[in-house]
Amino acid sequence: MTLFKLAVRNILRKPFRTSAIATPIVLLVSLLIFTLSVNERIGSTIERAVDRLGGDVMIVPAGALTAAQQFLIESRRSTFYMDKAVLEKVKSIKGIDEITYHIYLTTMPGLCCGISEAQIITFNPDTDFVVSSWLKSTKGRKLERGEVIVGSTAYEEWQLLKIEDAAKILGKDFKIVGILEPTGTSFDNTVFVREDDVMESIEKGLPAKQIDPNKISVIFIKLKEGYTPESITRLIEQEFLDVDAVPRGEIGRGLKTTLSDLNKVFTVTILLTTFLSLWMVSTFFAAIVHERMREAGIIRALGAKKTHLFRLFIMEAILVGILGSLIGIVSGNILNLLYSGTLSILAGSAINIRLLTYFKIGFIAFLGGSSICMIGALVPVIRISRMEPYEAIREGE
């Protein structure tokens, strides 16, 4: 019989006692998993969207900033246009290293029943540094005429098509040459087409008639060293009244503000829950230790040292903490699955957290739950392990 086995037996043979201590830990860990996951999902969605853009400043038609950000961050399909002439004007601003543009075409209807629409985006492969860099990293080359890259969600929904298959887009056959890795952003449900292919469709009178060749949707700018996105943004907004500009760090600001407010609420909730859990564990342990006073005295009478008793009770606390934390991780994830889908703030954000991040969140929650259980047990356990055996027996009678 080892101390560990004794601790395990004490936990298993007293399920009510064990569940009474484990419950606050389960609640705390569930809350930690849920809040950290929601926070991570929103945060990473914004981050990934901004990373994907690759530019320092984004320019959209005046009044379309919200729609553009909703498209980028929240996957809400949208179309908005400004004159292509703006591009030339912006080029003249000092400090611009690279400039490119995208045209957000009307959405492409799903191929069949139950298949959602996808957004078509055209880009100029000669100037592009957003899409081309993804293709270069995966294919090692630029997108050629008659080729398309497809977002992961859009590709999944075209169930019948495979890479190298032809897809009819805007009345023209295109070869699918690449699938973008999932980002959790609108780009997952997007088909990227070369601008010259689209223009050809327009010239041929294919179904892209509604596209005006003199319009573009969004301009991305990369700056030279020594220029800050904020100063260039200010300059653009001062000089061009018909556009809105947003520096890289400000993209998704609305959502970031909401996330920050949400985090404050989460922090207060977690702090209160932690305090409550600590108090509950401590109270339960004090009661349990009191109930087991005689048992502790007997164990000491049988030759257990103070450290044996301390280790036994702390081991029990840690094991219950681990048990509560594991159940909490499972219930937190179930809560996530069931409830986070109903939060509009998460609609369209990345469903899957990166595995490493997921483990990190799980580890933090696990550590938090186990530590709270151990800390809560500490005072009553120290008290009982310091008592004289006879004193413990008498108090337990």
């Binding site: 005689r294 007997i298 257990a304």
Partner: protein, 231 residues
């Protein structure tokens, strides 16, 4: 040999100080079977716990085999208890989450030889007549059976001394007699020193020496005679 000298234990409750054990001196030879009788609150249990190193006295010494129990540190005292002394209590002293066999094995968790412990524990349970209750939990055992398991546990580390605090207290006469016989047998065959606390003068008479505890003082029990000092 157990040598108790001028042992005093005072409990303080508020402003009041109660002398539970008052300058008690006692010598018990190896293999002796000593009983202590006395009313509730006379200080018997406190004296037994002082002899067993379960609580520190206010003054006096307890020397067992030339070791002064209260001059050694708590860890050494615990080791000493584990190896030399064992206790049988009046109440059910079994751990409710462990079965009979595991309860008997419990002292080995805190020290002692780890060889052959399980067969030895089974043998002890057989000796106390509970071989068929090896897997039974305390809640599945009667009061007498629980006490027998406690006796088997007390023998697990081959102790030289057993301190029994009213071990037959709430048992029926038949079980009481059986347990008493077991104690006598252990005392005779294994030469275990017994200090046995009881309310019953009849039971005390079955032991080698009878002492009386009254108001914290220990005296020799002599039927119909005034009390004389214990040692």
């Amino acid at each position: 040999m157990i040598d108790v000298r001028n042992l005093t234990k005072i409990y303080k409750t508020g402003d009041k100080a109660i002398k539970a054990v008052d300058s008690v001196s006692l010598k018990v030879e190896k293999g002796e079977f000593v009983s202590i009788v006395g009313h509730s609150g006379s200080g018997k249990s406190t004296l037994l716990s002082l002899i067993g190193g379960l609580t520190r006295p206010n003054s006096g010494t307890v020397i067992i085999d030339d070791i002064d129990l209260y001059s050694i540190n708590d860890d050494t005292l615990s080791e000493f208890r584990n190896k030399k002394i064992n206790f049988i209590f009046q109440f059910s002293s079994l751990i409710s989450t462990l079965n009979a066999l595991e309860n008997v094995l419990l002292p080995m968790t805190f020290g002692g030889s780890k060889d052959n412990v399980c067969p030895n524990a089974v043998k002890l349970l057989d000796m106390v007549g509970l071989i068929d209750k090896v897997d039974a939990y305390p809640s599945q055992l009667s009061g007498g059976q629980q006490r027998r398991v406690a006796i088997a546990r007390a023998l697990m580390n081959d102790p030289e001394i057993i301190l029994a605090d009213e071990p037959t207290g709430d048992l029926d006469e038949e079980t009481e007699a059986e347990i008493m016989e077991l104690f006598k047998k252990l005392n005779k065959e294994k030469k275990i020193t017994f200090i046995f606390i009881t309310h019953s003068i009849e039971l005390a008479k079955q032991t080698g020496r009878q002492l009386r505890m009254s108001n914290g003082k220990l005296t020799v029990l002599e039927a119909g005679a005034p009390c004389a000092p214990a040692s």
